[in-house]
Protein backbone atom coordinates (compact mmCIF):
# COMPACT_ATOMS: atom_id res chain seq x y z
CA UNK A 1 0.00 0.00 0.00
CA UNK A 2 1.44 3.32 -1.01
CA UNK A 3 1.78 5.74 1.88
CA UNK A 4 0.38 9.20 1.67
CA UNK A 5 3.02 11.92 1.58
CA UNK A 6 1.59 15.24 2.56
CA UNK A 7 4.84 17.15 2.28
CA UNK A 8 5.42 15.99 -1.24
CA UNK A 9 1.85 16.66 -2.16
CA UNK A 10 1.61 13.07 -3.16
CA UNK A 11 -1.49 13.15 -5.24
CA UNK A 12 0.59 13.20 -8.32
CA UNK A 13 -0.96 10.33 -10.18
CA UNK A 14 -3.31 11.02 -13.00
CA UNK A 15 -6.22 9.67 -11.03
CA UNK A 16 -5.53 11.91 -8.05
CA UNK A 17 -5.17 14.98 -10.19
CA UNK A 18 -8.44 14.07 -11.84
CA UNK A 19 -10.15 13.69 -8.49
CA UNK A 20 -8.94 17.09 -7.42
CA UNK A 21 -9.95 18.70 -10.67
CA UNK A 22 -13.29 16.91 -10.66
CA UNK A 23 -14.20 17.94 -7.14
CA UNK A 24 -13.13 21.51 -7.72
CA UNK A 25 -15.24 21.55 -10.82
CA UNK A 26 -18.17 20.05 -8.95
CA UNK A 27 -18.23 22.80 -6.35
CA UNK A 28 -17.17 25.67 -8.54
CA UNK A 29 -20.77 26.76 -9.03
CA UNK A 30 -21.59 26.64 -5.34
CA UNK A 31 -21.70 30.21 -4.17
CA UNK A 32 -23.30 32.07 -1.35
CA UNK A 33 -25.77 34.77 -2.20
CA UNK A 34 -26.49 38.26 -0.86
CA UNK A 35 -29.88 36.95 0.20
CA UNK A 36 -28.31 34.24 2.35
CA UNK A 37 -25.85 36.68 3.88
CA UNK A 38 -28.67 39.09 4.63
CA UNK A 39 -30.50 36.35 6.50
CA UNK A 40 -27.46 35.82 8.70
CA UNK A 41 -27.24 39.53 9.45
CA UNK A 42 -30.97 39.63 10.20
CA UNK A 43 -30.56 36.87 12.76
CA UNK A 44 -27.60 38.61 14.35
CA UNK A 45 -29.53 41.86 14.57
CA UNK A 46 -32.43 39.98 16.09
CA UNK A 47 -30.17 38.66 18.84
CA UNK A 48 -28.60 42.07 19.33
CA UNK A 49 -31.94 43.81 19.62
CA UNK A 50 -33.01 41.18 22.10
CA UNK A 51 -29.97 41.98 24.22
CA UNK A 52 -30.82 45.63 24.18
CA UNK A 53 -34.54 45.51 24.55
CA UNK A 54 -35.07 43.40 27.66
CA UNK A 55 -38.58 42.66 26.40
CA UNK A 56 -40.69 40.19 28.37
CA UNK A 57 -40.59 36.75 26.89
CA UNK A 58 -43.21 35.55 24.51
CA UNK A 59 -42.62 38.29 21.97
CA UNK A 60 -40.28 38.76 19.02
CA UNK A 61 -38.95 35.25 19.09
CA UNK A 62 -35.40 34.34 18.30
CA UNK A 63 -35.79 32.36 15.14
CA UNK A 64 -34.38 28.90 14.98
CA UNK A 65 -33.16 27.36 11.77
CA UNK A 66 -35.54 25.40 9.64
CA UNK A 67 -34.33 22.07 10.91
CA UNK A 68 -35.08 22.93 14.51
CA UNK A 69 -38.53 24.08 13.57
CA UNK A 70 -39.04 20.93 11.58
CA UNK A 71 -37.94 18.75 14.40
CA UNK A 72 -40.32 20.39 16.80
CA UNK A 73 -43.12 20.47 14.30
CA UNK A 74 -42.68 16.77 14.04
CA UNK A 75 -42.97 16.55 17.77
CA UNK A 76 -39.94 14.38 17.79
CA UNK A 77 -37.18 16.56 19.07
CA UNK A 78 -34.73 14.63 21.14
CA UNK A 79 -32.72 15.95 24.01
CA UNK A 80 -29.89 17.36 21.96
CA UNK A 81 -28.33 19.55 24.58
CA UNK A 82 -26.23 17.52 26.87
CA UNK A 83 -27.08 19.23 30.07
CA UNK A 84 -25.86 18.00 33.35
CA UNK A 85 -27.73 14.86 34.14
CA UNK A 86 -29.63 15.22 37.35
CA UNK A 87 -29.94 12.28 39.60
CA UNK A 88 -33.34 11.47 40.99
CA UNK A 89 -33.93 14.34 43.30
CA UNK A 90 -34.46 14.04 46.95
CA UNK A 91 -35.95 17.38 47.86
CA UNK A 92 -38.84 17.10 50.18
CA UNK A 93 -41.90 19.19 49.89
CA UNK A 94 -40.86 21.26 52.83
CA UNK A 95 -39.96 24.89 52.84
CA UNK A 96 -36.25 25.57 52.66
CA UNK A 97 -34.67 28.40 54.55
CA UNK A 98 -33.32 30.83 52.04
CA UNK A 99 -31.70 32.94 54.69
CA UNK A 100 -34.28 35.64 54.32
CA UNK A 101 -36.62 34.73 57.06
CA UNK A 102 -38.14 31.61 55.61
CA UNK A 103 -41.46 30.56 56.93
CA UNK A 104 -42.78 27.08 57.62
CA UNK A 105 -44.04 24.80 54.89
CA UNK A 106 -47.53 24.79 56.24
CA UNK A 107 -47.74 28.50 55.71
CA UNK A 108 -46.95 28.20 52.02
CA UNK A 109 -48.83 25.32 50.51
CA UNK A 110 -48.81 25.22 46.74
CA UNK A 111 -49.40 22.80 43.90
CA UNK A 112 -49.66 22.53 40.18
CA UNK A 113 -53.28 23.24 39.39
CA UNK A 114 -53.56 20.07 37.32
CA UNK A 115 -52.22 17.98 40.21
CA UNK A 116 -54.58 18.95 42.95
CA UNK A 117 -55.37 15.68 44.59
CA UNK A 118 -58.85 14.42 44.93
CA UNK A 119 -60.11 13.47 48.33
CA UNK A 120 -59.33 9.84 47.79
CA UNK A 121 -56.11 9.78 45.82
CA UNK A 122 -53.02 11.80 45.02
CA UNK A 123 -53.13 10.49 41.47
CA UNK A 124 -55.10 12.78 39.19
CA UNK A 125 -56.25 12.05 35.66
CA UNK A 126 -55.77 15.14 33.52
CA UNK A 127 -57.92 15.95 30.52
CA UNK A 128 -56.13 16.10 27.17
CA UNK A 129 -56.96 19.77 26.69
CA UNK A 130 -55.09 23.04 26.78
CA UNK A 131 -55.98 23.25 30.47
CA UNK A 132 -54.44 19.86 31.15
CA UNK A 133 -51.86 17.65 29.47
CA UNK A 134 -52.15 17.00 25.74
CA UNK A 135 -49.82 16.02 22.95
CA UNK A 136 -48.47 18.97 21.03
CA UNK A 137 -48.93 16.92 17.90
CA UNK A 138 -50.31 13.42 17.78
CA UNK A 139 -47.79 11.21 16.07
CA UNK A 140 -46.86 7.66 15.27
CA UNK A 141 -43.48 7.82 16.93
CA UNK A 142 -41.42 6.75 19.89
CA UNK A 143 -41.16 10.39 20.97
CA UNK A 144 -43.91 12.64 22.22
CA UNK A 145 -44.18 16.21 23.35
CA UNK A 146 -46.78 16.98 25.97
CA UNK A 147 -48.09 20.47 26.43
CA UNK A 148 -48.41 21.28 30.12
CA UNK A 149 -50.69 23.67 31.91
CA UNK A 150 -48.26 25.16 34.42
CA UNK A 151 -50.75 27.17 36.42
CA UNK A 152 -50.16 26.84 40.13
CA UNK A 153 -52.22 27.31 43.25
CA UNK A 154 -51.01 28.81 46.49
CA UNK A 155 -50.44 32.14 48.16
CA UNK A 156 -47.79 34.83 47.77
CA UNK A 157 -45.99 33.02 44.96
CA UNK A 158 -43.52 35.18 43.10
CA UNK A 159 -41.90 32.66 40.78
CA UNK A 160 -41.73 28.94 40.11
CA UNK A 161 -38.83 26.98 38.67
CA UNK A 162 -39.43 23.79 36.74
CA UNK A 163 -36.97 21.12 35.73
CA UNK A 164 -36.87 17.43 34.92
CA UNK A 165 -34.93 15.18 37.27
CA UNK A 166 -34.22 11.48 37.12
CA UNK A 167 -34.58 11.15 33.38
CA UNK A 168 -33.27 7.95 31.85
CA UNK A 169 -30.57 8.56 29.29
CA UNK A 170 -29.37 7.24 25.99
CA UNK A 171 -25.94 7.15 24.45
CA UNK A 172 -24.89 8.65 21.17
CA UNK A 173 -21.74 9.12 19.13
CA UNK A 174 -20.38 12.48 20.32
CA UNK A 175 -18.99 15.01 17.90
CA UNK A 176 -15.44 16.28 18.08
CA UNK A 177 -16.55 19.49 19.76
CA UNK A 178 -17.39 17.40 22.81
CA UNK A 179 -14.25 15.33 22.85
CA UNK A 180 -13.00 16.90 26.06
CA UNK A 181 -16.23 15.99 27.83
CA UNK A 182 -16.51 12.57 26.28
CA UNK A 183 -12.98 11.23 25.82
CA UNK A 184 -14.31 7.82 24.76
CA UNK A 185 -16.45 9.38 22.05
CA UNK A 186 -19.73 8.30 23.61
CA UNK A 187 -22.06 11.07 24.78
CA UNK A 188 -25.10 10.79 27.00
CA UNK A 189 -28.37 12.67 26.79
CA UNK A 190 -31.63 12.74 28.67
CA UNK A 191 -34.67 11.03 27.20
CA UNK A 192 -37.02 13.38 29.03
CA UNK A 193 -36.54 17.13 28.93
CA UNK A 194 -38.36 20.43 29.29
CA UNK A 195 -38.98 22.72 26.35
CA UNK A 196 -40.36 26.20 25.99
CA UNK A 197 -41.36 27.92 22.78
CA UNK A 198 -43.54 30.50 21.16
CA UNK A 199 -45.18 30.30 17.80
CA UNK A 200 -43.32 32.26 15.17
CA UNK A 201 -42.23 32.31 11.60
CA UNK A 202 -38.95 31.50 10.02
CA UNK A 203 -38.58 32.44 6.38
CA UNK A 204 -41.45 30.70 4.65
CA UNK A 205 -42.18 28.32 7.46
CA UNK A 206 -44.05 28.79 10.69
CA UNK A 207 -43.16 26.77 13.71
CA UNK A 208 -42.12 26.78 17.33
CA UNK A 209 -39.22 29.06 18.07
CA UNK A 210 -37.31 29.90 21.21
CA UNK A 211 -38.86 32.57 23.40
CA UNK A 212 -37.32 35.98 23.45
CA UNK A 213 -35.66 35.23 26.73
CA UNK A 214 -34.42 31.76 27.36
CA UNK A 215 -33.40 28.74 25.40
CA UNK A 216 -35.62 26.37 23.52
CA UNK A 217 -34.46 23.51 25.71
CA UNK A 218 -33.18 24.94 28.98
CA UNK A 219 -32.00 22.98 31.96
CA UNK A 220 -34.77 24.61 33.95
CA UNK A 221 -37.56 27.09 33.36
CA UNK A 222 -38.33 29.84 35.83
CA UNK A 223 -41.60 31.66 35.43
CA UNK A 224 -42.34 34.91 37.15
CA UNK A 225 -46.04 34.75 37.80
CA UNK A 226 -48.21 37.81 37.62
CA UNK A 227 -51.11 38.66 39.82
CA UNK A 228 -53.31 35.94 41.09
CA UNK A 229 -56.34 35.54 38.91
CA UNK A 230 -59.96 35.44 39.92
CA UNK A 231 -59.96 31.65 40.06
CA UNK A 232 -57.25 31.70 42.70
CA UNK A 233 -54.53 30.33 40.41
CA UNK A 234 -51.35 31.85 39.08
CA UNK A 235 -51.16 31.55 35.32
CA UNK A 236 -48.24 31.55 32.92
CA UNK A 237 -47.79 34.24 30.32
CA UNK A 238 -49.86 33.91 27.21
CA UNK A 239 -48.21 32.74 24.07
CA UNK A 240 -45.48 30.64 25.64
CA UNK A 241 -45.76 26.91 25.28
CA UNK A 242 -44.23 24.71 27.93
CA UNK A 243 -43.92 21.07 27.24
CA UNK A 244 -42.19 17.91 28.26
CA UNK A 245 -40.43 16.11 25.45
CA UNK A 246 -40.04 12.41 26.10
CA UNK A 247 -38.50 9.70 23.98
CA UNK A 248 -38.72 6.00 24.57
CA UNK A 249 -35.88 3.61 24.09
CA UNK A 250 -35.30 3.51 20.37
CA UNK A 251 -34.48 -0.15 20.14
CA UNK A 252 -37.52 -1.10 22.18
CA UNK A 253 -39.70 0.73 19.71
CA UNK A 254 -38.07 -0.87 16.69
CA UNK A 255 -38.42 -4.27 18.34
CA UNK A 256 -42.12 -3.79 19.03
CA UNK A 257 -42.99 -4.79 15.47
CA UNK A 258 -41.31 -7.01 12.86
CA UNK A 259 -41.80 -4.48 10.08
CA UNK A 260 -40.22 -1.75 12.18
CA UNK A 261 -37.38 -4.15 12.88
CA UNK A 262 -36.90 -4.62 9.16
CA UNK A 263 -36.87 -0.86 8.64
CA UNK A 264 -34.31 -0.47 11.42
CA UNK A 265 -32.05 -3.11 9.89
CA UNK A 266 -32.21 -1.48 6.49
CA UNK A 267 -31.59 2.02 7.90
CA UNK A 268 -28.62 0.87 9.91
CA UNK A 269 -27.09 -1.02 7.01
CA UNK A 270 -27.46 1.96 4.73
CA UNK A 271 -26.65 4.85 7.03
CA UNK A 272 -23.88 3.06 8.91
CA UNK A 273 -22.73 0.49 6.42
CA UNK A 274 -19.58 -0.44 8.29
CA UNK A 275 -21.25 -0.31 11.68
CA UNK A 276 -18.73 2.16 13.03
CA UNK A 277 -21.12 5.10 13.04
CA UNK A 278 -23.81 3.33 14.97
CA UNK A 279 -25.44 6.23 16.73
CA UNK A 280 -27.88 4.11 18.67
CA UNK A 281 -25.32 1.94 20.39
CA UNK A 282 -21.91 3.55 20.03
CA UNK A 283 -18.92 1.72 21.33
CA UNK A 284 -16.28 3.64 23.26
CA UNK A 285 -13.16 4.49 21.33
CA UNK A 286 -10.42 7.07 21.62
CA UNK A 287 -10.75 10.05 19.32
CA UNK A 288 -7.41 9.30 17.75
CA UNK A 289 -7.96 5.59 17.44
CA UNK A 290 -7.42 4.84 13.78
CA UNK A 291 -7.31 1.10 14.08
CA UNK A 292 -9.15 -0.80 11.41
CA UNK A 293 -11.79 -1.89 13.88
CA UNK A 294 -12.45 1.62 15.18
CA UNK A 295 -12.47 3.04 11.69
CA UNK A 296 -14.84 0.44 10.45
CA UNK A 297 -12.24 -0.66 7.97
CA UNK A 298 -13.90 -3.62 6.39
CA UNK A 299 -12.47 -6.42 4.41
CA UNK A 300 -12.66 -6.76 0.66
CA UNK A 301 -15.14 -9.55 1.13
CA UNK A 302 -17.35 -7.44 3.38
CA UNK A 303 -17.12 -4.53 1.01
CA UNK A 304 -18.04 -6.66 -1.94
CA UNK A 305 -21.04 -8.19 -0.23
CA UNK A 306 -22.42 -4.97 1.20
CA UNK A 307 -24.56 -3.82 -1.74
CA UNK A 308 -26.16 -7.23 -2.01
CA UNK A 309 -26.81 -7.35 1.72
CA UNK A 310 -28.30 -3.87 1.81
CA UNK A 311 -30.53 -4.59 -1.13
CA UNK A 312 -31.73 -7.71 0.63
CA UNK A 313 -32.59 -5.67 3.72
CA UNK A 314 -34.41 -3.12 1.58
CA UNK A 315 -36.36 -5.89 -0.08
CA UNK A 316 -37.15 -7.44 3.30
CA UNK A 317 -38.54 -4.14 4.56
CA UNK A 318 -40.56 -3.55 1.41
CA UNK A 319 -41.97 -7.05 1.70
CA UNK A 320 -42.83 -6.67 5.38
CA UNK A 321 -44.43 -3.29 4.75
CA UNK A 322 -46.44 -4.62 1.85
CA UNK A 323 -47.68 -7.46 4.01
CA UNK A 324 -48.55 -5.21 6.95
CA UNK A 325 -50.49 -2.87 4.68
CA UNK A 326 -51.86 -5.29 2.11
CA UNK A 327 -55.40 -4.06 2.70
CA UNK A 328 -56.64 -0.71 3.97
CA UNK A 329 -57.97 -2.47 7.05
CA UNK A 330 -54.63 -4.08 7.84
CA UNK A 331 -52.82 -0.80 7.30
CA UNK A 332 -55.23 0.91 9.66
CA UNK A 333 -54.79 -1.65 12.43
CA UNK A 334 -51.02 -1.76 11.96
CA UNK A 335 -50.78 2.02 12.25
CA UNK A 336 -53.03 2.00 15.29
CA UNK A 337 -50.71 -0.54 16.91
CA UNK A 338 -47.65 1.59 16.14
CA UNK A 339 -49.42 4.70 17.43
CA UNK A 340 -50.16 3.01 20.75
CA UNK A 341 -46.77 1.35 21.11
CA UNK A 342 -45.10 4.71 20.52
CA UNK A 343 -46.89 6.17 23.53
CA UNK A 344 -46.16 3.08 25.59
CA UNK A 345 -42.44 3.13 24.77
CA UNK A 346 -42.34 6.82 25.52
CA UNK A 347 -44.14 6.25 28.81
CA UNK A 348 -41.35 3.97 29.99
CA UNK A 349 -39.04 6.98 30.03
CA UNK A 350 -41.58 9.55 31.10
CA UNK A 351 -42.75 7.65 34.17
CA UNK A 352 -39.18 7.29 35.42
CA UNK A 353 -38.50 11.03 35.34
CA UNK A 354 -39.91 13.58 37.77
CA UNK A 355 -41.12 17.10 37.18
CA UNK A 356 -39.53 19.11 39.96
CA UNK A 357 -41.41 22.30 40.78
CA UNK A 358 -39.90 24.84 43.17
CA UNK A 359 -41.98 27.82 44.23
CA UNK A 360 -40.41 30.97 45.61
CA UNK A 361 -42.63 33.03 47.85
CA UNK A 362 -42.76 36.72 48.58
CA UNK A 363 -40.80 36.26 51.79
CA UNK A 364 -37.97 34.57 49.89
CA UNK A 365 -38.62 31.05 51.12
CA UNK A 366 -39.00 28.16 48.71
CA UNK A 367 -40.91 24.92 48.54
CA UNK A 368 -40.27 22.05 46.15
CA UNK A 369 -42.68 19.39 44.96
CA UNK A 370 -42.11 16.40 42.72
CA UNK A 371 -44.58 15.03 40.19
CA UNK A 372 -44.75 11.85 38.16
CA UNK A 373 -46.57 11.91 34.81
CA UNK A 374 -47.62 8.64 33.22
CA UNK A 375 -50.29 7.10 31.02
CA UNK A 376 -53.68 6.37 32.53
CA UNK A 377 -54.38 2.79 33.57
CA UNK A 378 -56.69 2.02 30.65
CA UNK A 379 -54.38 3.65 28.14
CA UNK A 380 -54.94 1.00 25.46
CA UNK A 381 -58.63 1.84 25.18
CA UNK A 382 -58.02 5.58 25.47
CA UNK A 383 -55.30 5.60 22.80
CA UNK A 384 -57.19 3.26 20.51
CA UNK A 385 -60.26 5.48 20.68
CA UNK A 386 -58.10 8.54 20.19
CA UNK A 387 -56.54 7.07 17.07
CA UNK A 388 -60.00 6.40 15.63
CA UNK A 389 -61.06 9.93 16.43
CA UNK A 390 -57.96 11.43 14.80
CA UNK A 391 -58.47 9.45 11.60
CA UNK A 392 -62.15 10.32 11.47
CA UNK A 393 -61.68 14.02 12.14
CA UNK A 394 -58.78 14.43 9.72
CA UNK A 395 -60.00 11.99 7.10
CA UNK A 396 -56.84 9.99 7.41
CA UNK A 397 -56.45 6.82 5.40
CA UNK A 398 -53.23 5.27 6.70
CA UNK A 399 -52.87 2.94 3.70
CA UNK A 400 -52.73 5.90 1.32
CA UNK A 401 -50.16 7.82 3.35
CA UNK A 402 -47.94 4.79 3.82
CA UNK A 403 -48.12 4.01 0.11
CA UNK A 404 -46.96 7.54 -0.63
CA UNK A 405 -44.11 7.78 1.88
CA UNK A 406 -43.03 4.17 2.26
CA UNK A 407 -42.83 4.92 5.98
CA UNK A 408 -44.95 4.00 9.00
CA UNK A 409 -44.76 7.50 10.50
CA UNK A 410 -47.55 10.04 10.48
CA UNK A 411 -48.57 13.13 12.40
CA UNK A 412 -51.75 15.09 12.86
CA UNK A 413 -52.04 18.83 13.35
CA UNK A 414 -54.18 20.20 16.13
CA UNK A 415 -54.44 23.65 17.62
CA UNK A 416 -51.67 22.73 20.03
CA UNK A 417 -49.29 22.10 17.17
CA UNK A 418 -50.69 24.80 14.88
CA UNK A 419 -51.76 23.91 11.41
CA UNK A 420 -48.89 23.48 9.02
CA UNK A 421 -49.49 20.47 6.79
CA UNK A 422 -45.99 20.60 5.40
CA UNK A 423 -44.39 17.52 6.80
CA UNK A 424 -43.81 14.51 4.63
CA UNK A 425 -45.84 12.40 7.04
CA UNK A 426 -48.68 14.88 7.49
CA UNK A 427 -51.87 12.93 8.13
CA UNK A 428 -54.39 15.75 8.39
CA UNK A 429 -55.61 18.52 10.65
CA UNK A 430 -58.14 18.63 13.47
CA UNK A 431 -59.85 21.92 14.18
CA UNK A 432 -60.49 23.29 17.66
CA UNK A 433 -64.17 22.62 17.24
CA UNK A 434 -63.60 19.01 16.21
CA UNK A 435 -61.19 18.50 19.07
CA UNK A 436 -63.39 20.00 21.74
CA UNK A 437 -66.52 18.21 20.63
CA UNK A 438 -65.07 14.71 20.58
CA UNK A 439 -64.73 13.18 24.06
CA UNK A 440 -62.37 10.57 22.62
CA UNK A 441 -59.86 13.38 21.98
CA UNK A 442 -60.26 15.25 25.24
CA UNK A 443 -60.31 12.10 27.39
CA UNK A 444 -57.50 11.98 29.94
CA UNK A 445 -54.42 10.27 28.54
CA UNK A 446 -52.13 10.97 31.47
CA UNK A 447 -52.19 11.08 35.22
CA UNK A 448 -50.07 13.31 37.38
CA UNK A 449 -49.14 12.28 40.88
CA UNK A 450 -47.52 14.27 43.64
CA UNK A 451 -44.67 12.00 44.73
CA UNK A 452 -42.87 14.49 46.93
CA UNK A 453 -43.29 12.31 49.96
CA UNK A 454 -42.34 9.03 48.25
Amino acid sequence: MRQFDDKAGDFASGADEAIKAGLESAVSEVRTSPRLDDRVIDRIRDIRSQQDAQVPHGRSPVLLPRVAVGAVACGLALAVAIGAMSSPASPSGTTQDSGTGASEASEHPFSLSIAQASETSKEVSVAATNDGIRPVSDEVSRSQELKLNLSVTGDNITSVTYRIVGSPTEKYRASVMDKDRFPDGVGTRDLVSLHQAVWGSYEQTEGFVAPKEGQFQPESITIDYGQRSADGSYHTADGVYHFVAASGDMQSYWDSDPTLQALDAWLDATLSPDGSDDNENPTPRAWDDTSAEAEGQDSEQERASRPKRTNELRAAYDSALADATSTPEKAYEWTRKNYISGFVTCNDSLSQARLEVTATFADGSTTTRLYRIELVDDYERVLSDRFDALCEAAGTIPADLIARTGLPWMDWDTSASHVRGESMTYAGSISDEQYASDPRLTAAMYTITDVTEE
Binding site: R31, I47, S175, L267, P307
Partner: protein, 185 residues
Protein backbone atom coordinates in the same frame (compact mmCIF):
# COMPACT_ATOMS: atom_id res chain seq x y z
CA UNK B 1 -26.85 27.57 17.52
CA UNK B 2 -27.93 30.98 18.60
CA UNK B 3 -30.32 31.20 21.43
CA UNK B 4 -31.68 33.81 23.69
CA UNK B 5 -28.74 33.66 26.05
CA UNK B 6 -26.02 34.32 23.51
CA UNK B 7 -24.67 37.79 23.02
CA UNK B 8 -23.43 39.30 19.82
CA UNK B 9 -19.74 40.08 20.18
CA UNK B 10 -18.87 41.29 16.71
CA UNK B 11 -19.96 43.94 14.24
CA UNK B 12 -22.03 43.25 11.15
CA UNK B 13 -19.06 44.40 9.08
CA UNK B 14 -16.80 41.76 10.59
CA UNK B 15 -19.31 39.02 9.88
CA UNK B 16 -19.89 40.27 6.34
CA UNK B 17 -16.15 40.30 5.70
CA UNK B 18 -15.90 36.75 7.00
CA UNK B 19 -18.80 35.62 4.80
CA UNK B 20 -17.19 37.30 1.83
CA UNK B 21 -13.83 35.63 2.46
CA UNK B 22 -14.88 32.17 3.62
CA UNK B 23 -18.60 31.89 2.99
CA UNK B 24 -18.20 29.75 -0.11
CA UNK B 25 -15.93 27.37 1.77
CA UNK B 26 -18.43 27.00 4.59
CA UNK B 27 -21.32 26.45 2.21
CA UNK B 28 -19.43 23.89 0.13
CA UNK B 29 -18.37 21.91 3.17
CA UNK B 30 -21.90 21.98 4.54
CA UNK B 31 -23.21 20.81 1.20
CA UNK B 32 -20.69 17.98 1.10
CA UNK B 33 -21.75 16.93 4.58
CA UNK B 34 -25.52 17.25 4.24
CA UNK B 35 -26.12 16.73 0.54
CA UNK B 36 -28.91 19.28 0.67
CA UNK B 37 -28.71 22.91 -0.35
CA UNK B 38 -31.46 23.83 2.12
CA UNK B 39 -29.70 22.09 5.01
CA UNK B 40 -26.38 23.59 3.96
CA UNK B 41 -27.87 27.07 4.05
CA UNK B 42 -29.25 26.42 7.53
CA UNK B 43 -25.83 25.31 8.66
CA UNK B 44 -24.27 28.33 6.98
CA UNK B 45 -26.50 30.68 8.94
CA UNK B 46 -25.80 28.93 12.23
CA UNK B 47 -22.07 29.06 11.65
CA UNK B 48 -21.91 32.78 11.03
CA UNK B 49 -24.36 33.59 13.82
CA UNK B 50 -22.06 31.56 16.06
CA UNK B 51 -19.15 33.61 14.79
CA UNK B 52 -20.97 36.81 15.69
CA UNK B 53 -21.52 35.50 19.21
CA UNK B 54 -18.10 33.94 19.73
CA UNK B 55 -15.46 35.70 21.85
CA UNK B 56 -12.65 33.79 20.13
CA UNK B 57 -9.69 35.96 19.19
CA UNK B 58 -8.44 35.03 15.75
CA UNK B 59 -4.75 35.21 15.09
CA UNK B 60 -5.00 35.15 11.32
CA UNK B 61 -7.35 34.65 8.41
CA UNK B 62 -6.35 31.00 8.30
CA UNK B 63 -7.20 30.64 11.97
CA UNK B 64 -10.61 32.16 11.26
CA UNK B 65 -11.15 29.82 8.33
CA UNK B 66 -10.20 26.78 10.39
CA UNK B 67 -12.57 27.88 13.14
CA UNK B 68 -15.43 28.35 10.69
CA UNK B 69 -14.92 24.96 9.08
CA UNK B 70 -14.70 23.25 12.44
CA UNK B 71 -17.97 24.81 13.57
CA UNK B 72 -19.48 23.81 10.23
CA UNK B 73 -18.52 20.18 10.77
CA UNK B 74 -19.94 20.15 14.26
CA UNK B 75 -23.16 21.82 13.23
CA UNK B 76 -23.54 19.17 10.52
CA UNK B 77 -23.03 16.50 13.18
CA UNK B 78 -25.77 18.06 15.26
CA UNK B 79 -28.04 18.16 12.26
CA UNK B 80 -27.45 14.53 11.49
CA UNK B 81 -28.37 13.61 15.04
CA UNK B 82 -31.80 15.12 14.81
CA UNK B 83 -34.70 12.75 14.45
CA UNK B 84 -35.97 14.68 11.48
CA UNK B 85 -32.79 14.18 9.51
CA UNK B 86 -32.30 10.58 10.46
CA UNK B 87 -35.78 9.38 9.76
CA UNK B 88 -37.22 11.70 7.17
CA UNK B 89 -34.53 13.56 5.29
CA UNK B 90 -32.39 10.47 5.29
CA UNK B 91 -35.05 8.55 3.44
CA UNK B 92 -34.30 10.67 0.41
CA UNK B 93 -30.65 9.94 0.99
CA UNK B 94 -31.21 6.21 1.06
CA UNK B 95 -32.41 6.06 -2.48
CA UNK B 96 -29.11 7.37 -3.71
CA UNK B 97 -26.89 5.07 -1.71
CA UNK B 98 -24.62 2.87 -3.78
CA UNK B 99 -26.14 -0.20 -2.24
CA UNK B 100 -29.52 0.60 -3.72
CA UNK B 101 -28.18 1.59 -7.06
CA UNK B 102 -25.64 -0.64 -8.70
CA UNK B 103 -24.87 2.00 -11.23
CA UNK B 104 -22.79 4.69 -9.55
CA UNK B 105 -23.43 7.08 -12.37
CA UNK B 106 -27.19 6.95 -11.96
CA UNK B 107 -28.63 10.40 -11.56
CA UNK B 108 -30.72 9.79 -8.50
CA UNK B 109 -30.04 12.95 -6.57
CA UNK B 110 -32.18 15.97 -6.96
CA UNK B 111 -29.87 18.66 -8.15
CA UNK B 112 -30.52 22.28 -8.81
CA UNK B 113 -28.83 25.42 -9.87
CA UNK B 114 -25.44 25.66 -8.26
CA UNK B 115 -25.56 22.09 -7.02
CA UNK B 116 -22.47 19.95 -7.54
CA UNK B 117 -24.60 17.19 -9.01
CA UNK B 118 -25.11 19.35 -12.03
CA UNK B 119 -21.50 19.48 -12.99
CA UNK B 120 -19.96 16.24 -11.79
CA UNK B 121 -22.49 13.65 -10.64
CA UNK B 122 -20.29 10.54 -10.31
CA UNK B 123 -17.46 12.14 -8.41
CA UNK B 124 -19.67 14.17 -6.14
CA UNK B 125 -21.86 11.14 -5.56
CA UNK B 126 -18.80 9.10 -4.66
CA UNK B 127 -17.64 11.77 -2.21
CA UNK B 128 -21.07 11.84 -0.60
CA UNK B 129 -20.94 8.08 -0.15
CA UNK B 130 -17.76 8.21 1.89
CA UNK B 131 -18.21 7.82 5.64
CA UNK B 132 -18.08 11.24 7.23
CA UNK B 133 -14.69 10.75 8.86
CA UNK B 134 -13.16 10.14 5.44
CA UNK B 135 -15.29 12.60 3.53
CA UNK B 136 -14.18 15.57 5.61
CA UNK B 137 -10.42 15.22 5.15
CA UNK B 138 -10.80 14.32 1.47
CA UNK B 139 -12.97 17.35 0.87
CA UNK B 140 -10.76 19.71 2.82
CA UNK B 141 -7.61 18.41 1.17
CA UNK B 142 -8.79 18.37 -2.42
CA UNK B 143 -11.23 21.25 -2.51
CA UNK B 144 -9.97 23.59 0.17
CA UNK B 145 -6.34 22.60 -0.41
CA UNK B 146 -5.66 22.50 3.30
CA UNK B 147 -2.60 20.84 4.78
CA UNK B 148 -2.91 17.79 6.98
CA UNK B 149 -1.91 19.91 9.97
CA UNK B 150 -4.69 22.37 9.30
CA UNK B 151 -7.22 19.63 8.65
CA UNK B 152 -6.24 18.08 11.97
CA UNK B 153 -6.96 21.39 13.64
CA UNK B 154 -10.36 21.60 11.98
CA UNK B 155 -11.32 17.99 12.62
CA UNK B 156 -10.05 17.99 16.17
CA UNK B 157 -7.73 15.04 15.81
CA UNK B 158 -4.04 14.33 15.38
CA UNK B 159 -2.25 14.94 12.12
CA UNK B 160 -1.40 11.27 11.86
CA UNK B 161 -5.10 10.49 12.10
CA UNK B 162 -5.77 12.83 9.22
CA UNK B 163 -3.13 11.14 7.10
CA UNK B 164 -4.61 7.74 7.80
CA UNK B 165 -8.12 8.85 7.03
CA UNK B 166 -7.07 10.73 3.95
CA UNK B 167 -5.36 7.68 2.60
CA UNK B 168 -8.26 5.39 3.37
CA UNK B 169 -10.74 7.92 2.09
CA UNK B 170 -8.91 8.21 -1.17
CA UNK B 171 -8.86 4.46 -1.53
CA UNK B 172 -12.55 4.21 -0.81
CA UNK B 173 -13.19 6.96 -3.32
CA UNK B 174 -11.25 5.07 -5.92
CA UNK B 175 -13.09 1.87 -5.13
CA UNK B 176 -16.38 3.59 -5.57
CA UNK B 177 -15.27 5.06 -8.82
CA UNK B 178 -13.68 1.87 -10.03
CA UNK B 179 -14.39 1.37 -13.65
CA UNK B 180 -14.90 5.02 -14.41
CA UNK B 181 -12.71 6.77 -16.88
CA UNK B 182 -10.90 9.31 -14.72
CA UNK B 183 -9.83 11.27 -17.72
CA UNK B 184 -13.46 11.82 -18.54
CA UNK B 185 -14.34 13.29 -15.15
Amino acid sequence: MADGRERVQRSDAFVRDAMSAWGDSVLRLALAQTGSRADAEDVYQDVFVSLACSPTKFESDEHLKAWLLRVTINRCHDLRRTWWWRHIASMEELDREPSTSEDPTSDSVVGGRGHPEDSCPPLWDALRRLPERYRTPVFLFYVEEMSCARIAEVAGCRESTVRTRLQRGREKLRKTLEGLDYEAI
